[in-house]
């Protein structure tokens, strides 16, 4: 290798085209790009306030205010309901689903906190009694009307009765 050649090689190592610098630059460029994409992904994950609000209303209207009891926490002015609303928003922002927030509240306050009672063994009566009662009345109605129509149809007259009937109608026709 000539001395000139060696000098050129040394020169190149320090210039932009040298593979080491090229690699570093590529690396920086790619990592910057990737961080940009990661940022975008994070942005996509954080919900807009509007979305949080909408979901908080949905959850809040399903939960009973335990102070005033016949309002949902979404409607109630009670202080505890305000704090519950805060907690609902906090949990939604933390990434809980609506069902998870509701089941958290249920684990603390029991089924009572749900404005719509769940269908389970101790609420079967509540859910099915109206339907059951309607069925009972329907059956009762059908049986009763069928019995009366059956009663309306008289038994055919026996021959003796027929003879008597003819006798009477003849007499009536004569007068």
């Amino acid at each position: 290798m000539s001395a000139k050649h060696a000098m050129r090689a040394k020169h190149e190592r320090h210039s932009l085209q040298s593979p080491a610098i090229c690699r570093t630059l590529m690396f920086v460029f790619i990592s910057l790009f990737m961080s940009l994409f990661m940022n975008m992904a994070a942005l996509a994950q954080t919900m807009s306030d509007k979305e949080v609000e909408a979901r908080a209303h949905e959850v809040g209207s399903a939960l009973r205010c335990v102070v005033c009891q016949n309002q949902s926490i979404d409607e109630s002015d009670a202080d505890l309901a305000k704090d519950m609303r805060k907690l609902v928003r906090f949990r939604i922002r933390q990434g809980d689903s609506n069902a998870e927030v509701i089941s958290y509240m249920q684990s603390r306050y029991g089924d009572f906190v749900l404005l719509k009672p769940p269908v389970q063994s101790n609420t079967y009566f509540l859910w099915f009694a109206p339907v059951g009662l309607m069925l009972v009345f329907l059956i009762w109605y059908v049986v009763r009307t069928r019995r009366t129509t059956m009663q309306l149809e008289p038994e055919p007259l026996s021959s003796a009765e027929m003879a008597q009937f003819k006798k009477i109608s003849k007499k009536e026709n004569n007068t």
Partner: protein, 183 residues
């Protein structure tokens, strides 16, 4: 006119309804059964009312039977309960953790200065964080926590001397026996 059992049907239905509704009337709907009996005390980390730099958490409850009492300076029934709690503290009956709920620090401290402080420590819960995880609906509410940190009993409403003696003290004694029985 013929009397049939059918004539009695409305009366029967009405009295059945009456019985169920009468049972319903004896129940206080504002007292919800606790979901947390025999559950571990919820995890929390709240500032100490008298030393806001330090935090109190559920580990404080381990190792002894504790009465956790939710109160607030705004709570009228807490005034009623307060003398009883102070007598308990004076007699060294039980470790007491107070939870100052939906309050300001100044008002909470002032209330305890005026009425005396029966609590061993007081956690400050302005935003109902611990109160909601305890399923609290109003103050005062009290919980008995055993030495392992499990909730064993809940009392809603002010504790009077009589209620302490008749309803709560026996449970405390049982829990303390339980603690001594386990190594």
């Amino acid at each position: 006119m013929k009397m049939t059992w059918k004539g009695l049907l409305p009366l029967l239905i009405f009295s059945a309804m009456g019985i169920f509704l009468a049972i319903g009337l004896t129940k206080d709907p504002s007292k919800l059964p606790s979901q947390l009996i025999n559950e571990p005390f919820p995890e929390f980390s709240l500032p100490d009312l008298f030393d806001p730099e330090t935090q109190i958490d559920q580990t404080y409850l381990k190792g002894q039977v504790t009465l956790v009492n939710v109160f607030g300076s705004w709570c009228v029934a807490c005034d009623l309960e307060h003398p009883t709690l102070r007598r308990l503290a004076a007699a060294n009956e039980i470790t007491m953790l107070g939870i100052d709920w939906r309050d300001t620090m100044e008002k909470g401290r002032l209330w305890l200065e005026r009425g005396g402080n029966p609590y061993d420590r007081v956690a400050f819960d302005a935003d109902s964080i611990l109160a909601i995880s305890l399923g609290v609906t109003g103050a005062p509410e009290s919980f008995l926590v055993d030495h392992t940190g499990q909730i064993r009993f809940k009392y809603v409403g002010p504790i009077s001397d009589k209620i302490w003696r008749k309803e709560i003290k026996p449970i405390v004694l049982a829990l303390e026996q339980e603690m001594e029985a386990t190594p």
